[in-house]
Symmetry: C2
């Protein structure tokens, strides 16, 4: 086989092509620095037609295509492998807002639109696009959809999947599927849209999407409550859901270790409540009327739930400060050194039992570890992260990663949970997922992969081997 | 090829097998009486393992499998073809509620559970399962999921697809895929669940599902407003959504012809408002608190929207009476004689223009026709039905069906709409859908079909040819 001729790729599409090692470097390593690969080139098309042209060239040459958005994924899904026989296809220059319809409440955007810009485009027509997550200033909507991103608003608005009405996709043949429907209802065939969402670019490349917009809340209330246990937090959740319904927009659990870590590493931050407590809950209520209405509803819910130790933000500034305690946990962990992360989900009712069992087994196997547990309790989704004992060597501790994963993921599987609730599989969790899936499910997934990507050139090695 | 030996089918599973022509008859004709087919037998397994055994027998014998739930579909999706080389697989005896979890808000039911029983199982734990449609006393949840059913609560809760967390499916090989996850978040691979939902049994047979439950509203308010035009109705919708958010649970449009038809054919029913109006809107608001709260919210919204001619139900009995005016339209049409039905969706903002254009073109082509237009305006979904002129021969009129479909569906396609918003394709709309879909989309659908049903035995001839 002769080496691919990049001049023909340059000619095949009208866009930008990076081939210099220095230019390509930022595209070849994931942002956590866990994965570094090689590539023939980085293609930066700025139109769907050019994405298709790049794919057709890759198909003709037998070269793999690795689509990449903001390169902010946590599972290595956008990094090429070490073979070097790949073109990284950056969607970053496909960043136009194509249409906005405040009557039908839809927004049509290209895949490379940065999430924060999508949110802003919605706000410009007095609507809400609710997807919100830590990387929103850099991640792209194409990546969000390809990984079916979660974030802080899933409890009320659902995952990225639930926020999408239509897609435009470049198929593995380099054809363009125009599925950019703006309809709320369309039962005319197989759920192709759903298939491409969450497939991490292994079945085709999302180039544009129609997103759902929502009425923009006029105000919010944010509260912070101390609870004795995950079971008590669960009780509070049940009360909040029954009383607040869909005005309840967030219900986040934070362990004492996680809170202390933020306070230690973010000067100026402080615990919202006096005294100590093993667990904390951040609750957010939104109102279409006003912040005052949200405040009243949250106060009523906390009173009804007999929560004794809680505080309500008295201003937007205080609300932001409470949220910062939650949102800065990941960064505080990073500042504290290396750790072993998990992004798991179990049935909501099983959360307390899971936390108890996982904590017990991990402490028994690795005395002195610190469990940085936090996450979207309302979704049954926890970031169950394991930091080394104080003073321990972090790199040495990380060599226990597989053993730690096994304890956590075996328990997750025992509770019929998920080992990747919102981060996707990429390469990080690909084999781990295959370990727990049934042969029937793996066979179905392989059939789908082979059907839509018969040459196996679409982001190979990701999701399924 | 030798004829299949039904004794081996009887032996292959422990369930019931109907082979007598009289016993089979009710399973061989759809409830509207539009399609009648033939079958070797009707199998009535009562367990998933037995469903799998039936499928394996069919695969071994090269016999088609036609899954059937409540046989209440509107597109002929559950009726075997005329070849006679099929087993109708009735899911009706798989009707157990397997689990209910009021903490995680999930309900696990078998495919043959009647929708009304699913609703009742939710209510028994003080929760709401919101899917609601005219056939709910006979249709099954397996059929609802296989056709991605819509109904009256889509505006607030979404289609059947949005209400499902997990599935159990018997594959085309007769294997059992256990995808009965109760998780709100799980990003560990391709969206197999989504693929089987809405596939009308052409990719596999849904045997059980995990459904989402919601807090049960404590009360509702129902209002009826007269509006001058679809555009005015759309204005009212925008006001209602902005002010009521997710407490707005229904927004239904009713044309004067539709209302008059109900009043004519349902003795005792009467127009809610004095005077005449070309268009009417039924609005429902739900409250987690009380009917009084819902009433106050709806009143405020109508006042804010400057609606002059409206009435609010003063009691649950009155609310039911208003809903009856909407729900009895289909039956009133049936009593009035034959008509040509459409189940279309267009972008919500395009509804007025679509109604204007379709009315104009139909009246021009078929003078004297009556347009029975009604439906889920909040979802952009209308039942745009065409009745013959007063006194015309209904059977003769029905011979115009293709020409009428062409006018309506060409306009729908021109507005980037859907020719089957909530009824599915079955055989009724299969070729019509293929007419409007792109070659790329049809090719993708065929690849999926071939991948999951290589022998082509799963409900052949439905959805895609």
């Amino acid at each position: 086989m002769t080496a691919p001729d990049l001049a023909t790729l340059r000619a095949a599409f009208a866009g930008r092509l990076l081939t210099d090692a220095g230019d390509m470097a930022p595209f070849l390593t994931d942002w956590r620095g866990r994965y570094t690969g090689r590539a023939l080139a980085v293609a930066q098309p700025d139109s769907t037609a050019d994405v298709a042209a790049v794919v057709r060239w890759c198909v003709a040459q037998g070269v793999a295509v690795v689509p990449q958005g903001g390169n902010s994924g946590l599972s290595g899904g956008a990094t090429p492998d070490a073979s070097g026989n790949a073109v990284v296809l950056s969607l970053a220059r496909l960043n136009r807002v194509r249409a906005v319809d405040p009557v039908g409440n839809t927004l049509t955007v290209e895949a490379g639109c940065i999430l924060a810009n999508v949110q802003a485009a919605a706000e410009a027509v007095d609507r809400l696009f609710p997807l919100s997550l830590a990387a929103e200033a850099t991640c792209t909507i194409g990546g969000n959809l390809s990984t079916n991103a979660g974030g802080t608003a899933v409890l009320r608005y659902g995952n990225a999947r639930a926020l999408c009405l239509g897609l435009e996709v470049v198929t593995a043949d380099g054809e363009i599927w125009d599925g950019l429907r703006t309809l709320r209802k369309d039962n005319t065939g197989y759920a192709l849209r759903e298939l491409f969402i969450g497939a991490e670019g292994t079945l085709g490349i999302i180039t544009a999407a129609v997103l759902k917009l929502f009425p923009r809340p006029r105000g919010r209330a944010v509260g912070w409550a101390a609870v004795d246990s995950p079971a008590a937090a669960l009780d509070l959740l049940a009360h909040a859901q029954a009383g607040l319904g869909d005005t309840l927009t967030a219900f986040e659990l934070v362990s004492d270790v996680a809170l202390e870590l933020v306070i230690e590493h973010f000067p100026g931050s402080r615990a919202p409540l006096g005294g100590t407590s093993p667990w904390h809950v951040l609750i957010e209520v939104s109102s279409l009327e006003s912040a005052a209405a949200a405040q009243a509803a949250l106060e009523a819910a906390l009173t009804k739930a007999l929560v004794s130790d809680a505080t309500l933000a008295a201003s937007e500034a205080q609300a932001t400060a409470l949220w910062a305690l939650r949102e800065n946990i990941s960064e505080a962990q990073a500042r504290a050194g290396k750790n072993v992360k998990h992004d798991i989900a179990v049935p909501i009712a099983a959360l307390p039992a899971f936390i108890t069992a996982a904590s017990r087994d991990l402490h028994a196997a690795f005395p002195g570890i610190r469990l940085v547990v936090f996450g979207h309790m309302g979704d049954g989704n926890l970031h169950f992260n394991v930091s080394p004992p104080v003073g321990a060597d972090h790199d040495a501790f990380l060599r226990n990663q597989d053993a730690i994963n096994r304890i956590v993921h075996d328990l997750v599987a025992g509770f019929d949970g998920s080992i990747s609730a919102e981060h996707g599989l990429g390469v990080l969790r690909r084999d781990e997922a295959a370990r727990y899936k049934s042969p029937v499910e793996l066979a179905l997934m392989r059939r789908v992969k082979t059907a839509l990507d018969p040459a196996g050139l679409m982001n190979p090695g990701k999701v399924i081997q």
